[in-house]
């Protein structure tokens, strides 16, 4: 019987409470790190060097900053406005159709290993979100802020879900190689990365169907949201 050591979990508890109470996440994460370190009796200096080392070694996570200057420049010269105008010129473009098209193309390209073909900073912010918003504006006129946020959030979600469930089909992707290495290390022979990639296909198809079904319903949701919004406005005007 192994003893159950719960002390290292103090950081997890701090994270859950801190995020739920909406303290600044940087502070919550740092406090959780310090508390976890102390719980397992690390001294201050070891804790500091662990912080420093891990932070240094994950600097590539900040590489999206490199994309921002060109995006910011293009936005200065009306990139988002152009994306909206362009969508307005395509009569059949709706928010749902734009998002579904992006989702399908993104999941298929990820399955072929083209992971860097899109991303939150390079495609969602400058192109996909303005186009999805533009299509909704054409249909319904100026949108309230909360509805704009909802459509933008859907654009970001499309990128994530399509990427995650497409990439594991590609057999040279890190996750597949990680699984393969794990099985070999644990003495299970005769499994090729191809087998793992093949078993990723059912869930990838399920993700496609489930999410596109939700996106198909989004159009009706937006229409409903707008109607309720207008009704509320009217009733507010009547009341005042």
């Amino acid at each position: 019987m192994t003893t159950l050591n719960l002390l290292p979990l103090i950081g997890v508890i701090i994270i859950v409470i801190g995020f739920a109470l909406r303290f600044n996440p940087l502070l919550v994460v740092t406090v959780a790190g310090i508390a976890t370190g102390f719980a397992v009796e690390l001294d201050w200096h070891t804790l500091l060097t662990t912080f420093g080392e891990k932070f240094m070694n994950s600097r590539q996570l900040a590489s999206f900053l490199l994309i921002l200057p060109i995006i910011a420049l293009l936005e200065r010269y009306g990139l988002q406005e152009r994306a909206k105008q362009w969508i307005a010129s395509i009569k059949s473009a709706t928010t749902t159709r734009i998002l579904i098209m992006y989702f399908v193309v993104r999941e298929c390209s990820a399955a072929l290993g083209l992971l860097s073909l899109a991303g939150q900073a390079q495609t969602v912010r400058p192109l996909l979100a303005p186009m999805a918003l533009g299509a909704a504006t054409n249909e319904h006129g100026e949108l309230p802020r909360w509805l704009k946020d909802k459509i933008s959030a859907h654009a970001a979600a499309c990128e994530n879900i399509a990427l995650f469930f497409g990439e594991d089909i590609f057999i040279a992707f890190g996750a597949v190689l990680l699984m393969d290495a794990f099985l070999k290390e644990n003495g299970i022979a005769g499994i090729e990365p191809l087998h793992i990639g093949l078993w990723a296909i059912p869930t990838a198809i399920a993700a496609l169907i489930v999410h596109c079904f939700r996106l198909a319903r989004l159009e009706a949701e937006i229409t409903h949201d707008i109607e309720t919004h207008h009704l509320n406005q009217v009733s507010q005007e009547v009341a005042s």
Binding site: L6, V12, V31, L42, F55, R82, T123, P126, A153, F165
Partner: protein, 335 residues
């Protein structure tokens, strides 16, 4: 992805060079913040980004000159400084001189679809370089750092897009950098969160938090009930991923703790299907957690959403449906 560190060939676009470029960009933004006449929290905001930027500008040089121990110590102190500045609300937006809505509309009409060219160039050049130019070299000098080809390709693509954007709009790269302060400031602390979480993940590994989670999950194991085992493995993968923010960190712990002894060895499950579907169950967790900040929080900040958890909220229904699908699928195919 990590490869075995062996001989390191020299490259034109080394990872250290890319970090230096990021450092220079951030330093420029700090300078712009200090010269902002109407910034409500000028000094502390400049300090916040200054601490962050120095880790990129001086980190590698400091390791070369003073060694890892000294460097990691001051970086650790800087990180705590960054957390305190952000935690006490001392970092804010400033004032920005960008174009008005009207000017944007008229520029959009003037340049038309040419505006899309630089934006579309970034992914195309990145993919082109990673596929066709990945191991291009002259003698022993490679174009890209062989450990970080995508990052090198992305950097090159951004540089090319900047030049093309300059050609089309007349806006110089310097103007582009100034304009990016508006974006970086609106992203704010979220830009640093992914690295902070990677750091916390490191502390969790040192503290062996994974073992504690594994032993809690094992408490629920009923070795004879196959369906319950499958459900515990998949839900455990999702939950552990939500805590660590990364399915790769959850995978070895949960698979070694539950799937190997109970499903593969005891019930003879098919390993390929098991690991593939297990990993996807972890991805369902990734969609539901703020700990996967670069996927869930940074985009919310990039899109300037009022609720920084809104992307997660939109993803939760799909994630839960797919998690249930995975459990049923795994149960019906692995035995």
């Amino acid at each position: 992805m990590t490869h075995a560190p062996n001989i390191e060939p020299t490259a034109l676009l080394e990872i250290k060079t890319i970090f230096l470029i990021i450092g220079v960009l951030v330093a420029f933004l700090v300078y712009k913040t200090i010269s902002d006449p109407n910034h409500p929290k000028k000094i502390t905001t400049a300090l916040f980004w200054g601490l962050f930027g120095s880790i990129f500008l001086f980190g590698d040089a400091s390791i070369a000159m003073f060694g890892a121990q000294v460097t990691h110590t001051w970086v650790g102190l800087f990180v705590i400084g960054i957390a305190i500045l952000a935690g006490f609300g001392l970092v804010s937006m400033g004032s920005y001189q960008t174009t008005s809505q009207q000017e944007k509309e008229s520029y959009a009409n003037k340049y038309g679809n040419k505006l899309f060219v630089p934006a579309v160039l970034i992914p195309i050049v990145t993919v082109f370089c990673t596929i066709l130019l990945n191991d291009i070299h002259l003698g022993s000098i490679y174009l890209f750092d062989q450990q970080h080809i995508t990052l090198g390709a992305l950097t090159l693509a951004c540089a090319i897009a900047l030049v093309v954007g300059w050609k089309i709009t007349g806006g110089t790269p310097l103007l582009a950098m100034s304009e990016s302060r508006r974006l970086v400031d609106s992203i704010g602390w979220a830009a640093i969160l992914p690295q902070m979480l990677a750091m916390l993940g490191g502390v969790f590994i040192v503290a062996q938090t994974g073992d504690s989670i594994q032993s809690i999950v094992t408490l629920f194991v009923t070795p004879d009930n196959r369906f319950a085992l499958v459900a515990i493995y998949c839900i455990g993968m999702a939950l552990f991923t939500m805590i660590m923010g990364n399915a790769f960190a959850a995978f070895p712990v949960m698979t070694a703790g539950i799937a190997m002894p109970f499903l593969i060895q005891m019930h003879g499950a098919n390993p390929a299907a098991l690991v593939a579907i297990g990993m996807y169950s972890g991805y369902c967790g990734t969609l539901m957690t703020p700990m996967a900040a670069n996927f869930n929080i940074v985009p919310a900040a990039l899109l300037d959403l009022k609720d920084k958890y809104q992307v997660i909220k939109v993803q939760i229904p799909t994630a839960l449906i797919l998690l249930s699908f995975n459990i049923v699928l795994m149960y019906s195919v692995i035995f």
